[in-house]
């Protein structure tokens, strides 16, 4: 008798669970093939792009466009000016009013910047800009510096090739849309100090070098090194997350941009 009840429980139980599992399989198929959510997020984004779709007010101003990653966005800057506004403030040119538009996306990699550049919404900004500040590449190499991988050099080669080809497309696109604009490319610094081994620092420096070669091959384009600026000033120039610059760090970069770029402009 006891055995019979046990058997019945086993029988019913396994059928119930099996039916449950079948429902589960149908659900997983539904999850991996449905598209409903996708449409929802897409429309969200379209409206949010429209919101900020204001082009530079006048072509007569000095129009600065900042694109790139969190450094471009000014993450960590207590004065929340970032590179573009900081530059405008220090420029202090009374004859011309300066306008800064920042399209940087914190966390963006080169491929994300490529998507921004290829978006037709960006064209209007590019065409009216007099200077384009670019900060990109940090997030590309960050994962490589953070992780211990046995395939480091292979991963790096792959990353560098992809990065350089993407950057080339970006720079070409900018120059194609506005040949006169001045490109200011902000190089990478090493936020980790001596916590990261020399081998990895070499990769970073090599990436900087390759970038400078590429950037300098374009007309009125300049590469701004930041590695040396930060090397002995990590404590003073980095914000609490020990990764992004603080106000002093941004100010140091801006000073360097001015010392590189401004003499040219003053002569005009």
């Amino acid at each position: 008798m006891n055995k019979k009840i046990l058997w019945l429980i086993l029988f019913v139980f396994s059928i119930v669970i099996a039916v449950g599992f079948i429902i589960g399989i149908v659900t997983t198929i539904h999850i991996t093939t449905s598209t409903q959510n996708g449409e929802m997020t897409k429309s969200n984004i379209e409206t949010s792009i429209e919101k900020t779709n204001s082009v530079f007010k006048s072509a007569d101003n000095l129009n600065i466009l900042v694109i790139g990653d969190s450094i471009g966005a000014g993450v960590g800057d207590e004065t929340s000016m970032g590179l573009g506004k900081g530059y405008a403030l220090k420029l202090n040119d009374n004859s011309k009013s300066t306008e800064v538009i920042n399209l940087s996306v914190p966390g963006a990699k080169t491929e994300d910047l490529l998507a921004v550049i290829q978006n037709t919404e960006t064209d209007a900004f590019l065409i009216q800009s007099h200077m384009v500040m670019i900060s990109i590449g940090g997030n590309d190499i960050k994962s490589l510096l953070d992780n211990e991988a046995s395939t480091l050099s292979i991963d790096y080669e792959e990353l560098l090739t992809q990065y350089l080809s993407d950057l080339k497309v970006i720079l070409n696109a900018i120059k194609a849309k506005n040949a006169d604009t001045q490109i200011v490319f902000i190089g990478l610094y090493n936020p980790y100090g001596d916590k990261v081994d020399m081998e990895k620092i070499e990769l970073l420096l090599n990436m900087n070098y390759k970038t400078s070669l590429l950037v300098d091959s374009y007309s009125s384009s300049v590469y701004i090194p930041t590695y040396d600026l930060f090397k002995y000033h990590l404590d003073a120039y980095l914000t609490i997350d020990d990764f992004h610059p603080n106000a002093a760090g941004y100010s140091a970069i801006v000073d360097r941009i001015i010392s590189v770029v401004l003499s040219d402009e003053m002569r005009q």
Partner: protein
């Protein structure tokens, strides 16, 4: 019919296979759970010694991560598809903060899912083979087939009762895996973590990961989905093993054939992934769970639906063959 199934279940229990499976599971799960706990403790102590005795302050790191992610969502130029999955990431991190859980803490829910993810390609089929391989062939080698077939029931009914008993026991094995890996890992970790939100529903479209249709579910729901897929794979393996057991008359040969095709299939997938026909082999389609996380496309053109279909076809064909062979063959014992 029901009494026939009952008879088959009793036979499986008499062979003490469920106990063997349970012991195998307890030993393996215990080892893995201990290993994971050990690795976790070591990481924490290594970190603490590197910051000279201070306790590992993960909370500020996580909060910082949340701030960064929120910044990304607010930016209008965030790549189209990413917002949904970033929101789920934020929710997940906030869960860790509000539950005072370090994100790298091993939890029972996570371990239970991981165990199924790891075992689905080889260990789970192995357990099912233990159950299924001698189901028919042992009747021949023990000469009990005479007693079975001289009863006043048609042959297909005998075979069907065997198959249904196998399906029931397979279901029980999946349940057993869930219970044992949950229970044992709870002893080691002390954290359930069933309500942690996670993201699923990634898709590969044109070679790139598409997160348009990412949805948020809890670990418990995810665990259920993963085990449902594990169950499906087990049923397919059970059906194929069942056919082999009906075809050959020695249990050892049956186990040999199915193990060889399992292991050989893994090689095949590894060496010949360019060869289109490999994706129609059942072994190439066992890892269904990877489709849920979106990190998987072993051969061009494979998807969850495709793999489920391939496994279904293999199961159905196996059953047809085994029924055909079993009811037609001469029994000379």
């Amino acid at each position: 019919m029901v009494s026939l199934i009952q008879n088959e279940i009793t036979k499986i229990f008499l062979k003490k296979k469920m106990i063997l499976i349970a012991i195998l599971l307890i030993v393996l799960v215990g080892l893995f759970a201990y290993g994971e706990k050990y690795a976790y403790d070591k990481t924490i102590s290594k970190f603490e010694s590197s910051v000279s005795g201070a306790s590992y302050d993960w909370k500020s790191l996580v909060n910082q991560q949340i701030e960064q992610l929120k910044g990304r969502v607010d930016s209008p130029y965030i790549p189209e598809s990413a917002i949904q999955s970033i929101n789920i990431q934020i929710e997940q991190l906030e869960y860790f903060v509000s539950h005072d859980l370090n994100p790298i803490t091993p939890s029972t829910a996570r371990f239970t899912v991981e165990f199924m993810e790891q075992s689905i390609i080889l260990f789970l089929p192995l357990l099912i083979i233990i159950l299924a391989a001698d189901l028919i062939s042992s009747e021949f080698s023990n000469r009990t087939i005479k007693l079975l077939l001289t009863r006043a029931v048609p042959r297909w009914k005998v075979l069907l009762s065997k198959y249904l008993a196998l399906v029931m026991m397979t279901t029980m094995v999946i349940l057993l895996i869930g219970i044992i890996s949950g229970g044992v890992s709870r002893l080691f970790f002390g954290v359930w973590g069933f309500d942690e939100p996670i993201a699923t529903g990634f898709k590969y479209i044109g070679g790139t990961l598409n997160s348009d249709s990412v949805i948020r579910i809890t670990r418990l729901e995810y665990m259920f989905l993963v085990y449902a897929l594990g169950w499906f794979v087990s049923i397919a393996i059970a059906s194929i093993t069942f056919m082999i057991s009906a075809l050959v008359r020695s249990t050892a040969t049956a186990i040999g054939i199915i193990m060889a095709s399992l292991i050989g299939g893994q090689f095949l997938q590894f060496f010949l992934s360019d060869w289109g026909i490999v994706k129609y082999f059942f072994v190439s389609n066992l890892n269904l769970i990877k489709y849920l996380t979106g990190s998987f496309q072993p051969i061009e053109g494979m998807s969850l639906v495709f793999s489920v279909l391939v496994l279904s076809v293999w199961s159905v064909v196996s059953l047809v063959i085994s029924f055909f062979v079993f009811s037609k063959q001469d029994v000379l014992v």
